[in-house]
Symmetry: C2
Subunit: 446 residues, 2 copies
């Protein structure tokens, strides 16, 4: 109605561009093409929080239209395409990131078909195909339903309610960022929020705000499109899917236990030290560190994604010290906490470890989707639903995971047993192989 | 940059339409044309708050352009003009408001020329002419410099700072309105904020929010354009300028003392009981009530605009009781507090008087210009100015008052001596005539 009542109910496709995606997918793709070109996988959507009625809110028609649109997104010819030019020119990680045959592959890249069905108040969504193609569903499988979910909620609000909601979220993010920028630790931050973002437009806005408020503390964003458009460094390395798939296709207990290190050994054939960040919690951090090969101490550091951050970081520091790296900070070692991070938690981590190790924080939905408590009438029911506005805007845990690799069930245990994925018996089998030590039970928020 | 970064730095003329004005000006105009068609007056701008450096912030060029534009705003031919059709059709105050000769006058209406000069860090602005024309400078003289002031401040902010500022102001207004709508008293509210509004666009937004959050509690707005576009009742009756001018041109003490009642006697020849709201504080409410004619008890009630609201309302109730109206509420008597009202104060007034008299609250800049404390970095200096952002967004008291009538100085005393206007010796002379009883000294915020 007025220029102040145009907070948009986003229209158009939630996923806007073939590079509206985490850079780590592209970094991993090159790895997959080199070492696992023939593996067939199935990626599936998992909404861990059944109380969020995705199926009741998002229409199947709209969801299919958005997934179908995502399949139409392509790179252009590699001699002309802007995104390829940008990626070809990347030197921000101290190396040539991608080679020309890789761009030849991208030129012909497309997402494999998907299957979608309604199951209760949720959707079951999956896509099968070569790992090198199906892997690109991961971010889209989350971005699309999440944005359509919020878009439908926004439609059920009045323009004034939307304005108040966005105003409160704006103020909250500004305060969150100000805590980080006003802290004496000046922690470095990477925006990891693209996958569970409220919407594309909101991520853009949040990225602009991060850039202004954090200044040099904002060292990058995981999203290539955002990095490209905001002159930021696209950041990310590897994900659980590498050891998950390698372990699933390995034959025998020993080979399975070795697989988590094997992928890292392969990784360092492709990527230099800047991109050698290890994610140790796929089958439990304790067993990972205990059995890790010596050369892993030469890697740059760890991304910390589950369990108790403080215990974990102590573990990394001890592990370095046992390997003769008595001053991990001076040696350039880094930990990147990325498990539902927020400013208060990050600053506590700084307080505890800033002197001992380098830290960067991967902050996700607490930047790009922090709407809990922002609705003006939180106790009212959402029209047409049996949940309140407060419940509907509560953070929820949606993931897209590889479920099968060459016909084998794929498992992730993590340090937090409620974050485990995979069929029950396969999870039990993995616990037998990797041990159950060090696992905690913690509510998963995002 | 994004759809969330388009909170506008308004462009275009601050005063958008010939009816982007308080309705009371038009209601008073008909009165002036009938009873005082030949009086010549001078209207002047007064910024009571010299610490707000209007002259340093607003460029003279921009100010002149906006005032010049205001002079170009006209009604069209009365047989075709939309605004005249709307005004001709008005029955919301239980009477035909305006007669056809009045519209003939409007058809040829224009604002008289103005004089503008820079005085220190302020502007001196005035306009002289027939009362029936110069009177229309009042609202524009405030709206225009105030909006240009804030517009320039907004230009000196980054888009993110603007977004945070507007977000916080949005949340604040929503909370303010929610207090009113959640209160058991359900106080009735009129938006009186047009004259000191942050901007035209912001007033539109606030009006939309008032309408949604207050529902039936919002009984109207003073601004005709807003009323017209939001399907609200345009509300207002008369202002201090009537007794001020009538008193200034009256000859002798007795005639001057009678003038404040004479205008009301004339008023009721034109307007029925619905529009018979008396504003008693021009020369002090105590003397006004003490000497008021008996017929005034038949009027609908009082607008309360200065001094201690609680004492004043007690005074009105006593006054009615002394005149045999023992239950003013049941008798339909009303008080409309309008002196810098806000939700907390209004609810206290309800608590004290809701059972005893009808109440409606005229709320002004606390709705349309409540930005104090909303800037993200309040302690930083505004670029180019020696004031902080907090100081720059502090509410300030700007008024446009009639200064001369037929060559005589024009005085207002009010119940709050810091709200008095007029040359020093004329104020002293008025105190001699009307007495100094009941006047307090109170900081004027708006």
């Amino acid at each position: 109605m007025t220029a102040f009542l145009n907070t948009p109910v986003s229209e158009g496709p939630p996923n806007r561009s073939v590079v509206d995606d985490d850079i780590y997918k592209f970094i991993m793709l090159q790895f997959i093409l080199r070492f696992y070109p023939d593996v067939q996988v199935k990626f599936s959507l998992i909404n861990r929080d059944k109380k969020i009625p995705l199926g009741d809110v998002v229409s199947e028609h709209e969801l299919r239209a958005a997934f179908d649109h995502a399949r139409t997104l392509r790179f252009g010819p590699r001699v002309k395409d802007t995104n390829i030019a940008y990626m070809r020119g990347m030197r921000m990680h101290q190396q040539v990131m991608f080679d020309e045959p890789y761009f030849e592959f991208l030129e012909h890249f497309e997402l494999p078909p998907y299957e979608l069905s309604r199951v209760g108040n949720q959707y079951a969504m999956s896509s099968s195909g070569p790992w090198s193609r199906a892997t690109f569903w991961e971010i889209r499988m989350m971005q699309i339903p999440v944005e359509l979910y919020y878009r439908e909620l926004m439609r059920r609000m009045t323009p004034i309610e939307r304005e108040v909601l966005y105003s409160r979220a704006t103020d909250r993010i500004y305060k969150e960022l100000s805590k980080l920028s006003n802290s004496k630790y000046k922690p470095k931050v990477v925006n990891f929020g693209t996958r569970r973002r409220h919407s594309f437009l909101w991520e853009k806005f949040v990225t602009a705000m991060c850039k202004e408020v954090l200044g040099d503390q904002l060292i990058g964003t995981s999203n290539i499109w955002m990095a490209h458009h905001f002159n930021l460094v696209p950041m990310g390395t590897n994900a659980h899917e590498l050891p998950m798939v390698a372990t699933a296709i390995a034959k025998g207990d020993d080979a399975k236990r070795r697989a988590q290190y094997q992928v890292l050994e392969q990784w360092q054939k492709l990527y230099g030290v800047f991109l050698r960040i290890c994610l140790p919690d796929t089958f439990g951090t304790k067993q990972f560190l205990a059995n890790a090969p010596e050369w892993l101490a030469d890697w740059r550091g760890f991304r910390d994604d589950s369990g108790d951050t403080f215990e974990n970081i102590e573990g990394y520091i001890d592990w370095y010290k046992e390997r003769g790296i008595l001053k991990p900070k001076e040696a350039g070692k880094i930990v990147i906490p990325s498990d539902g991070e927020n400013a208060d938690h990050a600053l506590k981590v700084c307080e505890a470890f800033d002197e001992h190790i380098n830290l960067s924080f991967g902050i996700g939905p607490n930047l790009t989707n922090a709407f809990f408590g922002c609705h003006p009438t939180p106790d009212k029911k959402v029209p047409g639903l049996d949940v309140t506005w407060a419940e509907a805007f509560r953070p929820f845990s949606i993931v897209a995971k590889v479920e099968e690799a060459d016909g084998n069930p794929v498992v992730k245990l993590s340090n937090n047993i409620t974050k485990a994925t995979g069929p029950k018996d396969a999870v039990a089998e993995s616990v037998r192989i990797f041990g159950g030590e060090g696992r905690i039970k913690q509510r998963v928020v995002v």
